[in-house]
């Protein structure tokens, strides 16, 4: 376990090395650095994991150096490994490694491949700081770091203005959440005089003052921004402008789940304020339904998956709100498996379609890309929680916990089930339109086979998406003993039935038939634009600021000083008149002045 710090160090070192050697490496060497560092990190993670569990899974703290000498509680740059961060570590490094591997093939021909891997490796480093940081400041470092890498990777093809726009949007919207998080830190520091997570949590059994309620709410604000939940969800669909492996790594498997991690990590505080947990549950439930509807209106394969991600993270928030923290992390893990798989297969499809992302221009892919299409099918089955797949176990657990939780309850459970219906509907819509029916793309392309680099990294993900639900996660030392609720059988199976109904409806509505065409009603447009949030924010915030900027470019405060200057010049103009060199004026002035003085004197007396 003493090698824990090497795991984040490897991608960081590789990233820096590639910056220093900019332009000097061949694509092969770049892949060696980028993927190689991740491979070693994955091996080390396995080693550390075995070590960790054989030693009874007790929390392990590794202090690297003294960072911020806060007088009351000096803050170390230190890593903290417990059951929660161990699972996160496994997901980030494991899934991250597979995605890096795939990305090496995906980006091989890109002229900026080196820059790509610099960002990717840097991202992994930042993400590891986020999950391993033992203080909220180190977590914040990772939090901002992943935001930066996300910005750079969304705008990776930066010559296109719309990519740069999407990158900017992602960064700024999440920064709103980051600011909330920072304010939360300020309140926590005020009360606990420390920013070390375990120090703060050690107070959580005592009576907490009401301000902590606000701190928790602000932490939720941070989580909502990073995890693309209501009301800060608008950046995620646009973030799909980045290369597809980026979407798989950052915007599906790891970074967007940071908010879930944050709340799970700080859960003892939240347990003191059930109101906040109810808010979290409602945020999750509303987001999962809203995103489900929005996914129905998308025609871009990646945007469907983006809304699906948003919706699945909604389930995780629902679980957090229902105090089922372990289930939230469980779903986080299974979701990382199947969503990474879905994005990578989507990437393969997009590559073969010559960067066409519109699902209505695909069609019939089962014939031309049988292997990739079956991977897609497996991913989708896990997504809709077909019994036996990984998604089934985690989603069932969440719904069961929601039904029973004091902070959630049957209403929220109902929304979760509605979400399951929508998930099934949009998933099968995607499958039917993409894989069945007549191909809407040139089929004469001979090169429909993939090199093994595109397939092999997917195999572990396929396996995990199928059987990942059988992985038994034990969080007893972090979340305490959990009772697994047993619901009546019909309640347990109702979501499955509902999901099946969704699949049937999708078959009726969307299965390609000769006469079918793209529907484009008003409702569809409404769904496609993400239910109007973008429009609203644009009107209320963006235009306000831009309007102010365009009006006040020349700084209204300066006008005051310009007025002063102008007044001076005017007074100067009048005073100058007294020295115009005309004798008559001087004489007149002398006489007038003399008269005034004399008259004044006389009057005064």
């Amino acid at each position: 376990m003493d090698f824990l710090f090497v795991i984040p160090l490897l991608p960081l070192a590789s990233s820096l090395l590639m910056v220093l050697l900019a332009g000097k490496l061949t694509p092969k060497l770049v892949a060696l650095f980028g993927v190689g560092s991740m491979t070693i990190a994955a091996g080390l993670t396995l080693w550390v994991g075995i070590d960790f569990f054989t030693q009874g899974a007790v929390a392990f703290n590794q202090i690297l150096f003294n960072w911020l000498p806060l007088t009351s509680a000096p803050l170390n740059f230190a890593l903290y490994l417990d059951q929660l961060s161990m699972v996160m570590l496994g997901v980030v490094v494991g899934v991250g490694w597979l995605i890096h591997w795939y990305a090496a093939a995906y980006m091989y021909t890109d002229k900026d491949m080196q820059r790509f891997f610099v960002y990717m490796n840097l991202f992994v480093f930042a993400m590891l700081m986020l999950i391993l940081g033992d203080s909220l400041v180190l977590l914040y470092l990772g939090w901002e770091g992943v935001g930066l890498c996300s910005f750079l990777l969304i705008g990776f093809w930066q010559h296109q203005p719309e990519n740069a726009m999407a990158a900017k949007k992602a960064f700024i919207v999440t920064r709103v959440g980051d600011t909330a998080l920072m304010l939360g830190l300020l309140i926590l520091f005020l009360h606990f005089d420390s920013l070390t997570i375990q120090n703060i949590l050690s107070y959580s059994n005592t009576e907490l003052p009401d301000e902590i309620w606000w701190a928790c709410l602000l932490l939720v604000g941070g989580a909502v921004g990073k995890s693309a939940q209501l009301p800060l969800q608008t950046w995620l669909p646009d973030a799909m402008a980045g290369p597809t492996p980026v979407s798989a790594l950052i915007h599906a498997a790891t970074m967007v789940t940071a908010g879930v991690y944050l709340i799970a990590r700080m859960h003892p505080l939240f347990l003191q304020f059930e109101q906040i947990l109810t808010i979290v549950a409602w945020i999750g439930a509303l987001t999962l339904v809203l995103a489900g509807f929005a996914a129905l209106g998308q025609s871009d394969i990646k945007r469907v998956l983006a809304y699906s991600t948003m919706s699945q993270i909604g389930y995780m928030f629902l679980a957090l709100g229902a105090t089922a923290f372990d289930n939230a992390i469980f779903h986080l893990m299974t979701h990382a498996f199947f969503k990474a798989l879905l994005f990578l297969t989507a990437g393969s499809i997009i590559l073969k379609m010559h960067h066409e992302q519109n699902i209505f221009k695909m069609g019939g892919l089962f014939k031309s890309l049988p292997l990739t299409s079956s991977f897609l099918l497996i991913g989708l089955l896990a997504l809709v929680a077909m019994p036996g797949t990984s998604g089934f176990f985690s989603k069932e657990a969440i719904l069961a916990a929601t039904w029973q939780a004091q902070t959630a309850g049957p209403v929220l459970w109902g929304m979760g089930v509605l979400g399951a219906f929508l998930t099934s509907l949009y998933s099968f819509r995607l499958l039917f339109i993409v894989c069945f029916g007549e191909p809407h793309h040139p089929t004469d392309d001979k090169d429909y086979s993939f090199s093994s680099q595109f397939v092999v990294p997917l195999l572990p993900l396929v396996l995990l998406a199928l059987i990942g639900g059988f992985i038994h996660l034990n969080f007893s030392l972090v979340f305490g003993p959990t009772d697994h609720p047993h619901l009546p059988l019909w309640l347990e199976w109702l979501p499955v039935v509902i999901a099946a109904a969704g699949a049937a409806l999708a078959w009726i509505w969307y299965f390609p038939r000769p006469r079918s065409s793209e529907s484009s009603g008003g409702l569809n447009t409404f769904f496609e634009t993400g239910l109007g949030f973008d429009w609203f924010y644009d009107r209320v915030f963006v235009r306000l600021i831009q309007g102010f900027a365009s009006i006040n470019k020349n700084d209204v405060v300066d006008k005051f000083y310009l007025l002063l200057a102008w007044l001076n010049f005017r007074i100067n103009g009048y005073v100058v008149l007294t020295q115009n060199g005309r004798l008559r004026w001087y004489l007149l002035a002398t006489v007038a002045g003399g008269t005034l003085m004399l008259g004044g004197l006389l009057l005064w007396r």
Binding site: A22, L70, H159, A167, F189, D555
Partner: protein
Amino acid sequence: MALSFLIWLPLIVGGLAWIMERQVKGSGNWVNLFGLFAVLIVVFYCWSNGMSELSWNWFTRFNIHFALLLDGLALILIVLTLLLAMLAVLVSWQDIQQNAGFFHFNLMFSVAGIVGVFLADDLFLFFLFWEVMLLPMTALILVWGHENRRYAAIKFFIFTQVSSLLMLVAIIALAILHQQQTGELSFRLAELQQLTLSPSTAYWLMLGFFIAFAVKLPSVPLHTWLPDAHTQAPTAGSVLLAGVLLKTGAYGLIRIVLPLFPAATIEFAPVAVTLGAISILYGALMAFSQTDFKRLVAYSSISHMGFVLLALFSWHELAIQGAILTLVAHGISSAALFSMAGMIQHRIHSRELGNMGGMWSSAPKMATVTLVFVMAGIGMPGMANFNGELYSLLGSYQVFPVQTSFAALGIIGSAIYGLHLFQNAFQGPANAEVADLNQRELTFTVLLVVGLVYFGLQPHILLDLTNANLMELLSVAAKVKGVSP
């Protein structure tokens, strides 16, 4: 004795550079560079035995001394000044064609003035240096500035003059009050600190100093000289202006206003802190409104200095530490961004963001280092500016939660203007083809990056050096609070 060399040496070097430049073209740069290096060695020599001071009688009739004091805070800022002066020399290596000798002299002249301000331990001397550093800076803008230089130089001069007049009045009033109480005039800071002032007198005198320093800092609404001065100044001028000249305002607050008038500043704090928060937000908003690279960075400086004002008047240990960290961090990051502006202007002869765009494809190194500087500026953790902001916010929040909460919104604001700057210049369709950084430019930009990261991860050295200053301030505050809780 050696201490006074810190002031003479830059002047001598400047004169030498002027003469040399007339003989051999381009030699002035080298003279300045080595001269600054020599001064740096003298600084470390003076510091080798810890704090050092010097006091010569000057105008004995008025009890004015030529008194200098080098302590931790002064040391940090002087070293920063000298390093940034080197940067200024390096960044304008080929920029100055006309009157190059005189330019070199002016640069060193202002360095001497700035170092003097940081060293002065006698208020009269402080005022003298305060004026001295103004003159060469005005000359730099007026002679080697850009298209609207006359306007900017005069504006800069008038703002600083008028405000320093208030300071002069306050200094003389203090000296006379000292005479009334002890029978002897005095300009020594330590002696003036012993004065017993009535609350209203202290308040008015404090305001006199405060306005002078708030103009220099600058704080909204006294900031409007800065965008013009920064924009029109030659790159070396901007580097010095943003890097260290603004810091003299904050230094004055730490060194004079807070210790001399603790009670008055605590009373005035809500106003000052609110001004700080307004500066942060207004500066950020104005930065976003700009389309001129340098003007944008100038407004971002206003935003950053707002954190310093907020932090200093919170009278909280962490906050004051945060202010000191911000001084150094902003000194490096803003000077770095102004140098980037200078390099871009040297290449495309424009500062308009509209004329840039997509420069990443032709100049990836330049884009990368600019990205680092922008990210440092907007408070990316792991770099120096973040520590300053974090400390300021953590400390200020304990005293002024409302204002600090608004100030924290500056985190969003900085992201907006930072990305606005970076994306318009380097992303999007390629508008401008530029040459990438050459070896000289790469060297000093990389050093700046290293500096930002180093102080981001190891702020100890700055905090340890200034610990004595901090303790002194806190004991002053404790006394006041003890008397009137």
